[in-house]
Symmetry: C2
Subunit: 219 residues, 2 copies
DNA sequence: ACAAAAGTGTTGCTGTTACACCCATGG
DNA sequence: CCATGGGTGTAACAGCAACACTTTTGT
């Protein structure tokens, strides 16, 4: 590999969702060598007539079938040995999907969702990329920096569900009464009037975020 | 320009400093066409045997003469018309320098420091890049996210000096007594025992950040 | 009736806000 | 002695942390 000012760039997508009180990521199983049988992030090589954002959106669309979505750039990775042959620079993006889109949540032999603390064997440096990006993201979610917590709950949720996710991301437990009080007393959530139906135990109140109060709110 | 999977990448450096209570940026004046006489960010084309971080460090070293420094990656810009000929992807980095390094602060015809709210005529899309990156950074400084405020004050400072910078970045005034109390009462700063010498008016107490208390502290 | 999950109240502490006067230095 | 800039106290309020029991549902 000779010295050159031309570089190969790929876009990698971390498709995430708050599901069952966990932070989950979508991965695909590699069907051919190299890394056959390993899991990888969806991605695509960038051509010089496309901007990074469009490349990321295209992957998102092809992968999930969704047109809209919260997608944002995170970090560029440029280690010389990232790929097996020439150096490929990866620009990572995060896409956040609503937990209620259960149709794309079906696991098959080729694609599946994983809790970010239970990742399978990953190809290339994708494990490192996921860890770096998620580590940054955890801080943003738990402080609601860039309104990141809101983005994971665009539709209705119960406070225990929100708390489970929050505790999972924060990796430590929080007092339930204080958590509840904070959101209700400060009008950060709005009672939809609906309750959860199924399951044992008392049904939970379904809330949604009060965007006006929640935007810019620091947790 | 034909379709290809090879891309040109440049690294652009935003060298910043908290000086005289303002946030300032280092710029260079372009001596040749295109954009002759306009100001631009220092930068360098990336070759495929170098990682982005090293490229940024090299620019920093050549520009400031300093070996060490707080440098971190911010965002990649990939608009098709960024450059005049083929599309060049810019990966921006921020470098924060100590305000006390006054020797590199000397303005010449070719290089100078500007307050980020008083930028000169800029070449390429560098104004847009600066605005985007600084807009993100302002939020981090004022909330001390990623300990960003600390990074701008590695050495001694007076509380009024810190407050001036803070108000400049936040773009709104703060009560002096409350600002003082916050930092002193919570032991976020340590009295060095020294005072400012020159100037009219009562000398100010020189503090430095109490790193243990300040790390992770949210303002 | 019991198991499972959701809901709630009080108290003390800590930090925030709003507000006006005194102190140390140089000229 | 005056101009300039730095340092300080208090009271009302808001949010946070620590604490255990009751309510609603399904089985």
């Amino acid at each position: 590999m000779e010295n050159s000012y031309y570089n190969v760039i790929e876009t990698l997508l971390l498709i995430l969702s708050a599901d069952e009180g966990k932070l989950k990521i979508y991965l695909e199983k590699k069907k051919e060598e190299p890394y056959k049988g390993y899991w990888i992030l969806p991605g695509s090589i960038l051509n010089n007539q496309t901007i990074l954002e469009d490349n990321a959106k295209n992957i998102y669309q092809k992968t999930t079938g969704l047109d809209e979505g919260c997608i944002f750039q995170t970090k560029a990775f440029s280690d010389l040995k990232r790929d097996l042959n020439e150096r490929v620079i990866a620009v990572s993006f995060v896409a956040i999907t609503d937990k209620t889109l259960t149709d794309i949540k079906q696991s098959t032999n080729e694609k599946a969702w994983f809790q970010i603390d239970e990742l399978p064997k990953l190809g290339f440096d994708h494990e490192q990329i996921i860890n770096e990006v998620i580590s940054e993201l955890r801080k943003k979610i738990t402080t609601n920096y860039d309104d990141m917590l809101i983005k994971f709950f665009p539709s209705d949720f119960t406070l225990p569900e929100l708390q489970n996710f929050y505790e999972f991301v924060l990796s430590k437990p929080i007092d339930r009464r204080n958590f509840h009080k904070k959101f209700v007393n400060q009008d950060l959530v709005i009672d939809t009037g609906f309750k959860t139906a199924k399951g044992s135990g008392r049904p939970g109140t379904l809330y949604r975020f009060n965007i006006d109060k929640m935007k810019g709110k620091r947790l």
